[in-house]
Amino acid sequence: MTMQTAAAGISERREGTAGRAQRFGDFLSALCMQLSGIALAVIVTICTVNVIARYVFAHAFSWAEEAMVYCMIFIIFVASAAVTWKGSHLCLDLLLRKCPAFFQKAIVVGSTLASVALLLLLAHFSYDVVARLYRYGQRTEALEIPMWIPQGFVPAGLVLIALMMMLRLWTHGPLPHETDLSSEDFHL
């Protein structure tokens, strides 16, 4: 089963609330990938234009590095939501798969709930820092945008990942992570 079909295959179309939750998860995952794709395209464009500007016009953009790094941080936390929905986070589940089905389910449910609690805890503390930056009105050095915007990607991303974990557990059930090697998506 490929990773792409993992999401679809293990979760046949359901009716009612679970079905709506699944469609919402699919939509959110696709949206996250599209937004991350835009950010990646922006990075490539800025990088190329900056190099050309430096060698052809002897002028580099002082804000370029900062913009690219913030786009990367955006990608990491937003695309991670899609990774979570696909169940594709890097993990080592050889032992888990050897356990009896009941224990597998118990471990996946327990670890998912604990992971969600941990992510929300981290998001809470992260939000405190971002809120303080917002109150102080601190700005970034080169782009001079409010510092809370790029730093806000961290708590927002953590909440998004936690949300996707819960949605996945609800709609797909307690399934181990899928990192199917035959998938065209998987090529680390």
């Binding site: 990938m33 599209q34 991350s36 794709g37 990646l40 395209a41 990075i43 490539v44 464009t45 990088c47 190329t48 900056n50 190099v51 590095e65 690219m68 790094v69 990367m72 941080i73 990608i75 990491i76 936390f77 937003v78 695309a79 899609a82 990774v83 696909k86 594709s88 986070h89 890097l90 993990c91 080592l92 589940d93 050889l94 032992l95 888990l96 798969r97 471990i107 670890s111 604990a114 992971s115 941990l118 992510l119 805890l121 981290l122 503390f125 992260s126 405190d128 820092v129 971002v130 730093q151 961290v154 708590p155 199917d180 090697l181 035959s182 065209e184 998506d185 998987f186 090529h187 680390l188």
Partner: protein, 425 residues
């Protein structure tokens, strides 16, 4: 007691199939609370501070560049050219597979991508020529990891950032070991071809070689731009990766016409998944590394190692064994991110060059990728090419011997990695 728990907890959680980034966060938070280090607000600063790094940007860009080159016909034309150039020598197709893996390595940094791309294009021909399915697939599973050793390599970038050494110097140090492994693999394939009495393919005419070269001109320029740009001091590795993406896109869409803009967009969005997989791990590992450093664990580890009064050769032997073991179950990115904060202080205290050690780490973890029984390339080759795992376990043994031989050379002759760095300097 707390330090032992800090060491044991990740192993238990990882074995239970918990995502590795969660394990790193959990252990970090557990350590911070248990050791009463500081407020958990520091986690935010560690994450953002760790990711706010321009050199780190090379990872997503090289992932994207490698994917566009593989899908856009650049990799295929390079393979065709190498096949034409080595045509006429015994075992030419096998040698071409090794050369193609090395060339692919010079454009991207992902090993399983290399196995898939090169394997799909070469295994059917290798089998048809009489190498046998087991040998052909094992060859591809083993050569695929050259990708990790020949720069630009994602593993090297991660090590350089974690150990705070120059990415470019590490790249320079990786060239010779990568080429040496490639050369030895090619020689072995030629010997094997003679033993199997594989018919020597007729040497292509100069006209055919020229035609392949003409078709691959733009493809050949891709590694030239990347490597020449970095080593010539024209770009930083990150900029080279960005330029590689733009170059690969333009060539694939307008010159080779093998990708539409829609296809490029599909690759871009797909790459974000792999980028997030790796980079979220980097985010979590920055917190983990910070907790490890603040907890005093590296100092305790250094003191413990010093108390053993080991010579450097013994120390390096132990590191090699540990890294091979870890590399066979964990992929290079998490292994580097978890182990480097712990090993780097010991290495520094022993007076070992961190660039030299970076190569030792990279080669060990690359070998781990096809080390039986858990090497991920073996599973990839098994899944992609339907060869039973026990066959692959036996098949990769000669290749394993070659890699271990080079690892021994690199470990105990530091000049092989440190001198080229001085030359370029």
């Amino acid at each position: 007691m707390i330090l032992s728990m800090l060491a044991a907890l990740p192993v238990i959680l990882i074995c239970l199939g918990v995502p590795i980034f969660i394990v790193l966060f959990a252990v970090s938070v557990g350590g911070m609370v248990a050791l009463d280090l500081t407020s958990l607000k520091a986690v935010h600063s560690a994450i953002f501070g760790g990711l706010d790094s321009f050199p780190l940007l090379a990872i997503p860009l090289f992932i994207l560049a490698g994917d566009i080159m593989a899908q856009g016909g650049i990799a295929r034309r390079l393979i065709n050219l190498i096949t034409a150039v080595v045509g006429g020598v015994p075992g030419s197709m096998g040698v071409a597979a090794v050369g193609s893996a090395a060339a692919f390595g010079a454009m991207s940094g992902s090993s399983v991508a290399c196995v898939a791309a090169i394997g799909n294009l070469t295994i059917p021909t290798l089998v048809k020529q009489g190498y046998g399915r087991r040998f052909s697939t094992s060859l591809i599973a083993a050569t695929g990891v050259i990708d990790i050793i020949i720069p630009p390599s994602i593993a090297m970038i991660l090590y350089a950032i974690t150990a705070q050494v120059s990415v470019t110097k590490l790249f320079i140090a990786g060239v010779l070991p990568g080429l040496l492994i490639g050369l030895l693999l090619a020689i072995f394939v030629m010997i094997r071809a003679r033993a199997l009495d594989i018919r020597v393919v007729e040497r292509p005419s100069p006209r055919e070689v020229l035609a392949a070269a003409k078709a691959a001109l733009w493809a050949v320029l891709a590694p030239v731009v990347i490597i020449g740009g970095i080593y010539g001091g024209v770009f930083t590795p990150t900029e080279a990766a960005g330029i590689a993406c733009a170059y690969a896109t333009i060539v694939s869409v307008y010159v080779y016409k093998e990708l539409t803009w829609q296809g490029v967009w599909r690759i871009v969005t797909r790459s974000t998944v792999l980028i997030a997989q790796i980079m979220l791990l980097v985010a979590a590992s920055t917190v983990f590394g910070w907790v490890i450093t603040t907890s005093g664990m590296p100092q305790a580890f250094v003191a413990f190692i010093e108390s053993l009064q080991l010579g450097n050769w013994q120390l390096l032997l132990i590191f090699n064994i540990v890294l091979l073991g870890v590399g066979s179950v964990l992929e290079p990115p998490p292994a580097i991110l978890i182990l480097t904060p712990l090993f780097a202080p010991v290495v520094a205290a022993a007076g070992i060059d961190p660039i030299h050690f970076g190569l030792i780490v990279t080669i060990n973890l690359a070998i781990g990728m096809f080390l039986p029984p858990f090497g991920i390339n073996l599973f990839a080759a098994h899944a992609l090419f339907k060869v039973p795992l026990p066959d692959l376990y036996r098949g990769v043994l000669p290749f394993l011997a070659i890699y271990l031989f080079v690892l021994g050379l690199i470990t105990y002759i530091p000049a092989l990695t440190t001198v080229p760095v001085q030359w370029v300097r």
